[in-house]
């Protein structure tokens, strides 16, 4: 059962524009949400997180939005840079384990 879903396997944007990556979850027990970035042959790297008591968290070019009623979160990257090209994983955790989406491959074109 997929408790965390990333329905877009890939996204391509132009350098300087906004990248929006989306994620949906089904388990209402999740109370902490994270985004990870992964380059080939490396482990995922933590990017940004948000607690369920917030609806927005911003860190530089990265902003995560949480819509609890819709069980939806998104990651905005602006402006996008070629170095942002990677696979982005959404994750959700509750009292126990942490579950990941299937990932979205972001390509930022110069």
């Amino acid at each position: 059962d997929q408790q965390v879903k990333q329905n877009s396997p890939s996204l391509s944007v132009q350098e300087g524009r906004i990248s929006i990556l989306n994620c949906d979850y089904t388990n209402s027990m999740f109370d902490y949400f994270l985004w990870y970035k992964k380059y080939p042959a490396e482990g995922p790297t933590f990017l940004i997180s948000i607690s369920s008591i917030k609806d927005k968290n911003e860190d530089g070019r990265f902003t995560v939005f949480l819509n609890k009623s819709a069980k939806h979160l998104s990651l905005h990257i602006v402006p996008s840079q070629p170095g942002d090209s990677a696979v982005y994983f959404c994750a959700a955790s509750g009292p126990g384990d942490m579950r990941f989406g299937a990932g979205t491959r972001l390509t930022v074109k110069p």
């Binding site: 990333q6 109370d31 482990g43 933590f46 997180s49 955790s93 384990d97 579950r99 990941f100 990932g103």
Partner: protein, 113 residues
């Protein structure tokens, strides 16, 4: 070390053999996770340890898979009688606790031939 360390980084094994994968978490991290990433797929949850609580084994795909953790230190993931479908990158992550970001190791690439 400063980060999560996994060994070996690469492992090639013959079908039917047992393999043991090791994870050294960040010191002081009470939570430890194992995931599997097959080629072209996402991160598949395997098992979760939190302190001295009973581990959450709900993600283990079969009884050929088992994992142990000694206290809040090293964890080993054992796969018995390996099959070709076990070929994947096995990733370990640790965290100071729930509700806090986890940090990943580089992974162990397992190839079953």
């Amino acid at each position: 070390g400063a980060g999560v360390s996994q060994s070996p980084s690469n492992k090639v094994t013959e079908k039917g053999k047992d393999v043991e994968l090791r994870c050294d978490p960040i010191s002081g991290h009470t939570a430890l996770y194992w995931y599997r990433q097959r080629l072209g797929q996402g991160l598949e949850f395997l098992i979760y340890f939190q302190g001295n609580s009973a581990p959450d084994k709900s993600g283990l795909p079969s009884d050929r898979f088992s994992a142990e953790r000694t206290g809040e230190s090293v964890s080993t993931l054992t796969i018995q009688r390996t099959q070709q479908e076990d070929s994947a990158v096995y990733l370990c992550a640790s965290s100071p606790g729930t509700g806090i970001a986890a940090f990943f190791g580089q992974g162990t690439r397992l190839t079953v031939v």
